[in-house]
Subunit: 887 residues, 2 copies
């Protein structure tokens, strides 16, 4: 026969913590604590199967349920020496829902169930306080009427206010036992009037009413919606937990508290927590009374006068100390526990893994591994890779006061304060004067690069997570809030408006790039510090890891940062980023604006020595490691001259008229530049561009060999391939440049030619593309754009709404869409490797630094991920975890 | 032992017409004619296997080849009674290449091979003309030295000019036998000087030289490139045909001619052709002498004084008449034949299927089927569907003089003349005055619609085959040349420049939309006429066809046109096209520019009655047929107000300030509108838009039922779905509207909700999308854009170069990319039908009217294609052919 009800308490339990599915999270944990022999108020759990059965059978209970509940209730009575409905020694219980995962919309808690006009006397006698008893009774009616019977909560509050008015008092504490007694009567009247049915007096009716309400709440609109959005099956159902009440507010030998087995903010192995004498759990949370520290050490650290529990209740404290140590050992993790002391007796109400800061998570994981509590692998798995962001960048002091101006996208992490500047040149000048500058733009473009570099942080009012500002800022490690639509920038006036404030040029603001928040003034920040435990954990992660981790980097600084963070090569050197410098962009524009090959070649000749030097420097910094160089893929519009000044400059350099420049710029303007004349398409029409770049690569490699004797093997990567014919032609072009340089220098450079897979067609045709391409690197930014038909620049305006409504779970530009984009990656990997067994596969989109995406890459059998330098540690940890999870 | 050489002649042949692979096209046909017993000059074919063998063996011949050629040559000698190298009765031969398919870059022809200083005398004696003999000899040297020996052709021409100068004459005909004899000597000298080797005197050396030249030419750069681009395998090789010479220029009993077994321009069953007495084939082509008709009827029809062959050579004509009839019967198709009469004896030189006009093709196919020569199925297969465009639209009179101004894309077929106007309002005004107007714009936008409608033709200088101008023009059946980059439009001056001309407002131009040509002035056009045979053929095609053919149509006119052309429903009613009218676009703009739901709803309330009427009209016209309505998918930028006037209008209607309108327009402007906030994304953020449209659909269906009793089953189609969550929400929205209308009207309308599959992600996730979607329609325009990452608006600038360089074979926006986009369609079809067996699948992109794409759709198992009304007949025929080919 199915067991519908599981009892716990008195040092034993029917259930175990592994029975989450059947008992829900809370029920399973209570059972576990009980079977450990810990002091848990006795109770029972009605299983999730009852819920399923209830809905399968037109909302009726299994026939055997009633008797089973009766029996379980009797067990509680035996344990507690009280009886349900007994006016002398009444048993009071709490009723709580308990699904496998916690879920909004579900009925939460009913306390003090079992009180009625008869049993209230028993409670009064027991507690020695009439006021306590009637207050408990009216609370029960209020709560039960609200959550079980659906009576408007406000009606009761009104009545209490009325009573206080009548008495001329302001606080609930000014009401006495008689007041609460009168209100209890009034509350019952409210129920009767509202529902035309009396408030249930019988404890049994009360219990079944509460149990039914829990099960019914499984199908509230809110719960149903939540489940649909979070893909929680209907069939899981919820359990119901019924447990004897204990009271922390029965006088000075009673107390209630919360504790962590280790310091949740530093991770230090110190018992840590707070308690309140003569109080209920909600009083600790409410913050009206100042809680006291549990330990003497804690009290001293706080400089508090109030006695610690260690001093005030040494005996019970001793028990608690033992219990917490036992719980941590048992669960092999830092625990967040709740307890109540009822007249000198300790009761454990809850234990669960405690939330902690990233810093604490690392220390706890590493120390627990050293203590032998967990293995090194498990320590690696214990730390959320995404949380490392906190450690690698300054963060806002959590205790600092702050005024939020607006929210945007968390485009590049870190917190920073500085003076607002709306202009890149000015930002640079101010920065040279020693000012900390926040560059504020509607959006950024290549000509802002010097200003972005000079600024401490960047704020834009338009653009997504992969907009120019966001990508460049992440690359530079500058905090950035992008696409803050609430920020209205007025360049002309030199101000922006947000959150009802007007911020002028030179005013101080603070950005939290990890949260996407913009604050008024300078909010104090905390410096990042990388602990010894961090380094240890990374070594453990690396030893498990199968995926290599490379960095996306173009500048020597980025490359050095990346190497410092443990990058194993460069997976993506975006050569167009090398062209953004003020002295180069003119030559690039000149090239783009040229009408003929001769004009382009003249401009390219100016760029060749710069490119050669660029590559030479990168090869040198990444000595011994692979470097993948992507040939030019300019989003054309980013390079077009826009202002008259810019056009005049090109006109001057190229010897053309302004009209000619203007006409050419207009002709080059595209309706959808993302889908336009870019990537290898430029090189099909103007091969001389890639010819110059390939030459620069081989000349640099050749020169470096001459200097150092190191034979760099450059990986030349062709962007935006859609067809085999394109890669065939590009390979010929690169091979020709290599041969020409070899002939000139007398030195043959080994190299590989590969391609980005960033278009759905390339993924589908990977089999034939791999005939020419020697490696693939998945450009998941563009692949996401085209697979979804969604521009990363334009999505910001509605993506928010999509995520809020649950149409999309996550921004697919942040975390890889594994179902759609992921399938294309799998298809391409399979087809590519079928043609070219063992070919090298990597990913170099923004997703390379996202833990879930890294795990996907591991499962898909890629060889490496490449991400921005500051995300390299995150990728290393995520890759280590992926390997551990899979094996 | 391999047979390397195949002989033909004397009423028999080793080969047959099925042996194309081995003998090449020409060789196989000559063999076939010979075995039919037709008078073919005897000869032999060296097989393609010799070519393959040649290249496999370092360019050497199989050992047995020499003897085999020798034997075959002897057979010719026996047949002709002449001998190779015999000074009395010399055998002369032609040598021609003959691959399976004709191919540029291959050696073409050497005539008169076998002539030398000795045999020239025999030819002179035989022909009775020294001049003829020496002229033939020098031609042979000239031709052989050029194509076999590689001596510059110009050197010989110069020497002839020199000779004429010396004699003071101007024409070759003024040179006599002595002149040609002297020139022959001189030519040999040229060869000696150029190559340091004498011109070969031995006929055998000559022959092997020519054979070698054919085989070598298989690997010329041009031939190699051509094969690569056309995917012709290297391994095919070429054959060599060696054939006895016959001369049509041996006096008045000799002649040469070409003929068609039926009239190639009308298809009428009339023997049709021309001949010249005492002439060689090239004289007929050269057009110096006026050719004579073959038949009396032909002579009379031309009003010619020159006697027909029927009159001049009645006996030979009789033989020819018999031969041509026999050839047509044998090949079961209209033949294009070449013949020579040598001194009263008929020789057949060539027969092949004749090229014909679309009109002729249809008549011939239908009549041959009626004659029992071919089956009805074969008749259907005989007509190129794409050629029907000629019949459905006016075309340029092929005989008319014309001056080409520029070329653009053939965006919408038909030829039309009119006066240039640069402005939609003006175009409309002129048209109301009875003028034929050609609207010329850089590109068109929705506010030009009335002008496009009023114009006879449309010319744009920017945009691709699926630009706004192109799509709208095809929908309206207006000829359109789009993206004519050579046309420089200057609105301010009211003129455009092209081909060195300046065309001002009001000047006459002619567009050929089927070719993409723009001509100066008014070029005469021919009206389309649909023959009875056309209708018959379409019935036969329909009876074979499995795919249904629907039309993309929004207006009553389009819908009626479509029905007239046999459309079986509407596959795509683009509701945004219904909003382009001047009186509606303001309401649409008002809706887009509204900041809140109330503002949008106010604007939508104005649109609801118009939409309802639209749908009502469409349902009525398409009575009994399905109508698929796509809810709004505005490329947002097409609707934004651009000019101050347009903004002022919106400001007036919505009661906002110009600044507010300007700011909102700026905020709505997107970097990549194709990948922006469009399709169902609009309805996720602003559901009220689709709510209005769904309501209009159901109200219209309900009203029509009340009027006529016909129960329309609307197919409601949601655009731009990428995720299951989107279609889930959209279906709820439509269902809710249906339920609301049902409640209000008391009448439940049956309907289907489906989706466009136009994003790669939707294709991949089709399995789960089909849980909500009841049908799929492949939006291959967008699917092509996203699969290739290629904007149809921007591709024009480089697609040309892609196709010219052979990187792409065809514009993927015109003919479906079956490998890439096609695979996504197959994936989606399979996954969709796995979830929902038998679900209805269609295609509604521009590809629905492209024959190759229609065939793909048939193979992919779709249920229907939908195309612009004027392409419906093309799609019907293509679908019929696809079914016949597959079965």
């Amino acid at each position: 026969m199915t067991q519908w009800v599981y009892s716990f308490g008195g040092g034993k339990a029917d259930g175990r913590s592994e029975m989450r599915e059947l008992l829900g999270g809370k029920g399973a944990n209570l059972a576990e604590m009980a079977s450990l022999g810990l002091p848990v108020p006795p109770g029972f759990t009605i299983t999730t199967e009852v819920c399923t059965n209830f809905y399968d059978n037109a909302r009726t209970y299994p026939a055997e349920l009633k008797a089973a509940v009766q029996a379980a209730l009797q067990q509680i009575e035996v344990e507690t020496g009280r009886k349900f409905g007994d006016p002398k020694a009444p048993l009071l219980v709490s009723v709580r829902s308990g699904a496998r995962v916690s879920m909004p919309g579900m009925m939460d808690t009913v306390l003090n169930l079992g009180l009625n006009d008869a049993t209230v006397a028993g409670l009064a006698a027991d507690s020695g306080s009439d006021r306590f008893a009637w207050d408990s009774y009216r609370r029960f009616i209020q709560m039960y009427a609200d959550v079980v019977m659906g009576v408007d909560h406000g009606l009761f509050e009104e009545r209490i206010e009325l009573r206080k008015d009548e008495k001329g008092v302001y606080l609930d504490t000014d009401l006495d036992a008689d007041d609460w007694k009168a209100l209890t009567e009034a509350f019952k009247q409210i129920v009767l009037e509202a529902l035309d049915t009396p408030f249930p007096e019988s404890p049994e009716d009360q219990l079944w009413g509460a149990v039914g309400a829990v099960f019914q709440s499984w199908q509230t609109q809110r719960a149903v919606t939540y489940r649909r959005l979070h893909e929680i099956p209907e069939s899981w159902g919820t359990a119901v937990n019924v447990q004897a009440m204990v009271f922390g507010n029965m006088g000075d030998t009673s107390a209630t508290g919360v504790a962590f087995t280790r310091d949740p903010s530093t991770g230090e192995k110190l018992f840590y927590g707070e308690f309140l004498v003569n109080a209920q759990g909600e009083d600790v949370v409410a913050g009206i009374r100042t809680p006291q520290s549990l330990t003497i050490q804690g009290r001293e650290a706080q400089g508090s006068d109030l006695p610690s529990m260690e001093e005030a209740m040494p005996e019970v404290f001793g028990q608690l100390l033992e219990v917490q140590a036992r719980l941590e050992r048992h669960y092999r993790d830092m625990q967040d526990i709740e307890f109540t002391v009822e007249r000198g007796r300790l009761w454990m109400l809850q234990t669960r893994s405690g939330k902690r800061t990233a810093k604490a998570a690392i220390r706890i994981a590493v120390e627990m591994a050293k203590e032998g509590l967990i293995g090194q692998d498990e320590a690696v798995l214990r730390v959320d890779p995404a949380s490392l962001d906190q450690l690698l960048h300054p963060m806002l002091d959590p205790d600092a006061e702050r005024t939020l101006l607006a929210r945007g996208l968390p485009a590049s992490p870190g917190a920073v304060s500085g003076r607002v500047s709306f202009n890149a040149d000015e930002a640079e000048a101010l920065s040279l004067n020693g000012e900390d500058v926040i560059l504020v733009r509607i959006e950024t473009s290549p000509e802002d690069i010097h200003g972005m570099h000079a600024a401490r942080g960047i704020l834009t009012s338009r653009g997504g997570m992969t907009s120019h500002a966001a990508v460049v800022a992440r690359g530079m490690g500058r905090p950035c809030v992008a696409g803050a639509g609430e920020v209205r920038v007025d360049y002309a006036k030199g101000e922006f408006r947000a959150g009802g404030h007007v911020i002028r040029k030179g005013d101080l603001v603070t950005l939290d790039g990890g949260q996407g928040h913009i604050y008024l003034g300078a909010v104090p920040t905390l410096k990042p510090e990388l602990s010894g435990e961090f380094a240890e954990l990374m070594v453990w992660a690396d030893s498990a890891r199968k995926l290599a981790v490379r960095a996306n980097a173009e500048t020597p600084t980025d490359a050095e940062t990346a190497r410092g963070f443990g990058a194993e090569g460069i997976g993506l050197c975006r050569t167009e980023h090398m062209f953004f410098d003020a002295d180069r962009i003119i030559a690039v524009r000149e090239m783009i604006m040229a009408d003929d090959k001769a004009g382009r070649e003249a401009a390219l000749a100016k760029l060749l020595p710069m490119q050669r030097q660029d590559f030479h420097d990168l090869f040198k910094i990444m000595s011994g490691l692979p470097v993948t160089i992507r040939l030019l893929d300019p989003p054309l519009h980013e390079f077009l001259p826009h202002t008259d000044d810019e056009m005049a400059e090109i006109a001057r350099v190229s010897g053309k008229s302004m009209d000619q420049i203007r006409e050419r710029a207009a002709r080059l303007t595209e309706a959808n530049p993302m889908l336009g004349h870019r990537g290898c398409r430029l090189a099909i029409t103007y091969p001389e561009i890639y010819e110059m770049q390939a030459r620069a690569i081989f000349e640099a490699a050749s020169a470096l060999f001459a200097e150092t004797g190191e034979a760099i093997i450059p990986e030349v990567m062709i962007p935006l391939i859609a067809t085999k014919a394109e890669i065939d032609r590009m390979k010929v072009l690169v091979d020709r440049a290599a041969a020409a340089v070899a002939k000139e220098t007398g030195r043959t450079v080994e190299y590989m030619v590969g391609t980005m897979i960033e278009l759905p067609r390339a993924a589908l045709r990977a089999g034939e593309i791999a005939e020419a391409a020697e490696f693939f690197s998945f450009g998941t930014n563009d692949l996401t754009q085209t697979t979804f038909g969604l521009s990363r620049d334009d999505a910001a305006s509605f993506l928010d709404s999509y995520i809020r409504q649950g149409v999309l779970e996550k921004d697919p530009f942040v975390s890889l869409d594994q179902d759609g984009v992921g399938e294309l990656i799998e298809i391409a990997a399979e087809r590519g490797r079928k043609t070219r067994p063992g070919m090298k596969l990597g990913i170099c989109g923004e997703h390379g630094g996202d833990p879930a995406s890294v795990e996907f890459c591991h499962r898909a059998g890629l060889d490496y991920v490449s991400c921005s330098p500051f995300r390299v540690p995150i990728a290393r940890l995520a890759a280590g975890q992926a390997a551990l999870r899979k094996s």
